[in-house]
Symmetry: C2
Subunit: 166 residues, 2 copies
């Protein structure tokens, strides 16, 4: 089906915090994000995968660089209280997003985007999608180059290099 | 900041396939999704987390129930060719999405959504977001109840129980 990617955006100077080995039981994500919300941590995107035959989960979220230390401390406290493995932090990252209308199945758009990054030898750290967005977390140093590569791969004329409009 | 969730949708009869222990090196996501694309697998959402000090990645994607067996076979072949740990599949799942405009930071909306599911004792298997969507994967048996709980939690008047419009 036709890939209808209309724009690419870059959001720089983020950090990704990962909570590893969270027990896959109802109510735990609610507790974690209630604590972050009460402490006014800005959460950008959230991704969660399950593993170990569905017993455990890894939850990551992106936040801006300035909120990252407070967010990390809160999550480390939660790790102690809730008994999960631990918290890791990836600083100095950017989020690159391809935005399209009618991207109801992602396979074509995802292949094109990931292939553009692969050819540019840019490593993809996290991926999160919705029906109209495919977002990849990359290192800050790769951001501008990722933006150009993906923009070219989708044959777009205009770049919105740092747009908050979506 | 104000939570502006405008609708909740439910997409049923999906499967989530997880590729575990993929080496966190440039080019691998591109290869995986190129193979899926060439084989016409419908990919709905994609999530990727990294772990083990950034050395490894878990990548999951949702597909419809009918594409799941073919997708699983392809991924098992990729696991052998690319040497990652393995492939797991979670069948009989649904995706529930809260959609909002101006949900620029997710913390408030995410807390409300996860809390609604927690109170309904519904387990959240996967999470994926973009600026305007928060999606949770739950079991098919929990889908309708999840929809009602989240709809109520956000004080919405209309439900779009099975909508593909976003
Ligand atoms: C891991 C966490 O998301 C858990 N499954 C929950 O529902 O809260
Ligand atoms: C794991 C996979 O996403 C890898 N990091 C890549 O860039 O392709």
């Amino acid at each position: 089906e036709e890939i209808v990617v209309e724009g690419v955006t870059l959001k720089e100077d983020l950090a990704v915090i990962a909570l590893n080995g969270v027990s896959n039981q109802a109510g735990l994500a609610a507790r974690i994000f209630a604590v972050l919300g009460q402490n006014h941590i800005l959460v950008d995107d959230i991704v969660q995968n399950i593993y170990d035959e569905g017993k455990l989960a890894n939850i990551s979220f992106s936040t801006n660089a300035s909120d990252a230390p407070a967010a990390q401390n809160l999550c480390q406290q939660l790790a102690r209280d809730m008994g999960f493995d631990g918290v890791s932090i990836d600083k100095g990252v950017s989020k690159i997003s391809a935005i399209g209308v009618g991207m109801r199945t992602h396979t074509g758009a995802a292949s094109t985007m990931f292939d553009a990054l692969a050819k540019a030898e840019i490593n993809i750290k996290n991926i999160s999608t919705s029906e109209i967005v495919i977002s990849c977390i990359v290192s800050n140093v790769d951001g501008a180059r990722a933006l150009r590569s993906i923009h070219d791969a989708f044959g777009l004329d205009k770049i919105e290099p740092r747009s908050n409009q979506i």
